[in-house]
Amino acid sequence: MSSADLTSERDLPRETPATGDVAPEHDGPRDTGMDDANLDRWLARTWRTPPGIIGALSSVDHKVVARRYLITAFVFLCLGGLNAVAMRIQLSGPQRGLIDPDLYNQLFTMHGVTMMFLFAVPIVQATGIYLVPLMVGSRNIAFPRLNAFSYWIYVSGGIFAWVSFALNMAPDVGWFAYVPLSGPEFAPGKRADVWAQMITYTEVSSLAVAVATIVTVFKQRAPGMSLDRIPLYVWAMLVTSFVVVFAMPAVMITSTFLILDRLVGTHIFNPAEGGDALLFQHLFWFFGHPEVYIIFLPATGMVSAIIPVFARRPVFGHLGLVLSLIAVGFLSFGLWVHHMFATGLPKLGASFFTASSMLIAIPNGVQIFCWLATLWDGRPVIRTPLLFVFGFFFIFVIGGLTGVMLASVPLDLQVHDTYFVVAHFHYVLIGGSVFPLLGAAYFWFPKISGRMMSERLGRWHFWLAFIGFNAAFFPMHLVGLWGMPRRVYTYPAELGWGNINLFISAGAVLFFLSFVLFTFNLVHGALKGALAGNNPWDAGTLEWATSSPPPSYNFARIPIVTHVEPLWAEREAPPVATGLRVDVRELLISTVAEAHPDIREKSATPSIWPLLAAIAVGGTFVYSIFTPWAIVWGAAPIAITLIGWFWPKDDPEDEG
């Protein structure tokens, strides 16, 4: 590690030359004064992912890892969607005997587990893995091997869950797996163990990504990107990562307690032995409510990135939006109890959580008003990404308002655990997260693939998704108020819910078909789309300053940031900082607040050990659903792979 030899003024000159060095023994060729072709050649060789299968499995390039994450999460979205379609076919009429309760209960559990743990959280984090280093002007994410490890953990956890489903061993206790239903007495067999271990296991990957994101944002920002110049999407990922760090351990404790009760015979949740079933719910929802914001906050970041580009002006109220993100992050921890109003809490406590649940609507309102103000003052150009943002407004605002209804204790007592709530959270999660994600897919697709997706198909996709979604989920509000509870595999004809459920099912099929169209557009765009160029939307943030798709080293020269929209402030090429070595993987590390260049730091080289470590950890977790001794035997391969991973090398470039 050597101190950075870059000037640290706020107003850096257009080209900052390197001066001197404190560690001459590590000195090698630098990018200072090197011509472009030569520089590209050096960097391409230093930062490339090695060829061959072993090379592909050992890649630590954040873009490679992120692409895998995105594709995997999309596959899980389709699988979870198929679950939903199967359930909707069963519910399309009263007393349909197509799916028995045993399979149905696995279907809705796998639907919830897949959508929450294998699609929504991973895909927002994957988008962050791809974009955050590019948007802050860095050559790689922090802890690239940990980042690669997180992907292997995630994909093997997902495979574990779906293989158990194929083997008729999938959890059937709901994605929330309340005890005592999931406890040793009422859930014999291995199904609830699969739930418990898969949750603990996949959350390891979320935590790893969160830590890498936080360090990337705080320490790897381009010179001049002070806190007030961080793009809103990056802010959103930063706040999300903090929420992950504080919320995920709560669910990991819940699932660990559950597996201890089931496997080792503790009585943490057993009321007969002094435990308490309600403890599970408190722990679970202390994670479960922030979870909603883990999914939603990155989506607001995407909206904040898309709106200014298509409104053709910087976002209104940048500071207000940042403070709102932080406020939502904090407040999200203060309202878990509104999932538990029907458990018979003391009245005063319940009232407190009504007030705190209402309160979170204020920062969310601030965000919406700022976006509307941006559109008011802009000259909106309606392209597919903005269309999906409009869909987000239309749908998410309904979801937010029904959320206000659910925050009211008495009102919640009628609608809790009914289809009203199913409608509400699909409005919030699909409207608040999936629609922005789809917009983001059209928006950043050129940066990932180098090609454009079809605008015409995009519009068809939008309208199909928009109509299908509302047809499927709006009537659920009504059927919930008419008394239909959630998680029922059938219902009697006398209650008169048949026709409306048929309508809902038709909408659900339509909504699913929109994803078929989207998949076609993705594949078609990747193969045959028009070439995008660096900045097809004329956007203002740094990821558009490099080519599409970006080279393995992201930026040939590290840009210097003088504005929150650097590419708009500098209509020509932005100024750059130089002085980084080109023969080893070097990153520029900057100070937390002002982003002054601080030191040069080595970034990890490709390694197969993260994959091997993930296999060891995964094997241990799978084995542990059969015997607690797995933890003992599994410790050996985990230790061996971690030793291999962290074994000190002669070459200092292999650190980390």
Binding site: P101, A277, R313, G320, R379, S408, D417, G483
Partner: protein
Amino acid sequence: MKRLVSMAFATAGALLLQGCAGWQSALDPKGPAASELAWLIWFFTALCAVVWVLVMIALVVPLMMRSRAQAEPLAIKAGADDRKLRAVMTAVGLTAIVLIGLTLLSFFANRTLAAIGSDAALTIRVTGHQWWWEVRYEDATPSRILTTANEIHIPAGEPVRLLLTSTDVIHSFWIPSLSGKLDLIPGHMNVLDLKADKPGVYRGQCAEFCGAQHANMGTFIIAEPRAKFDAWWNDQLQPAATPTGDEAKAGQDLFLKRPCVMCHRIGGTPAGGTVAPDLTHIASRQTLAAGTLTMSRGNLAAWIADPQGIKPGSHMPVVELSGDELNAMVAYLEALK
């Protein structure tokens, strides 16, 4: 096109009416608690609808007014941001006021609900089981304590106090047209007060996922005039009817010899099981298997012959019976009014 639109409206209208006719609807209140809640639901819905329309207007207007020219980004009109700031701050202030109002409204509704059962004279203990309801009518005189299953009789027009708990997993007690739901949690006792304004039959069902047969865990509240309710209670306290005909007598013998007695109780006979519904007066109930089948000779036979076909996963095992044995058993049970 016009026909399509009118057809769509007709369908939507039919759907809405159908829901209001539902006997398990929160929008069709039949008691003071549900009425208070229905009013709250409508008020919140109306207010939220207004807010949503305002936001949509704010979204659509700039699109209508947009100029076609693609602006150079960063070119912001001087003074425009000050006006936007005032507009945003006003909107935030209004949001806060609306939210405070709704919070206070919830508090007051809570107090109204709490006042409903303050002078309840009747206490009923409801215990959730996978997948049926045990109902015990408490009384100061031990001999008058009555245990039945799945159907709850209450006197109309009087507040009733329900004590809710569970012996296995978490269930949730919910009769939408009378009151909001409350969970039955092992190791906890919850109190739900409710009142039916008029005599009638109100359906409800378990609202918390409780395993394989969560969908078929229905219940009924039957509100009757006080005199009729008292008469019903006295009838239920009587031991089971002694079988008359030969077939029914054979049915009773069969019942007492088979594993049925391990789980079920029939008052006045040696059968004393408590893990399954009390059958002393089973034929006086409107349904079988917690609201799954209407009470009839055919359904009784179907249920005994194949409980796993009707409620897969339920804890009622198949007891091997010949055709004659089944007929005898049904004849016996059918007479337990």
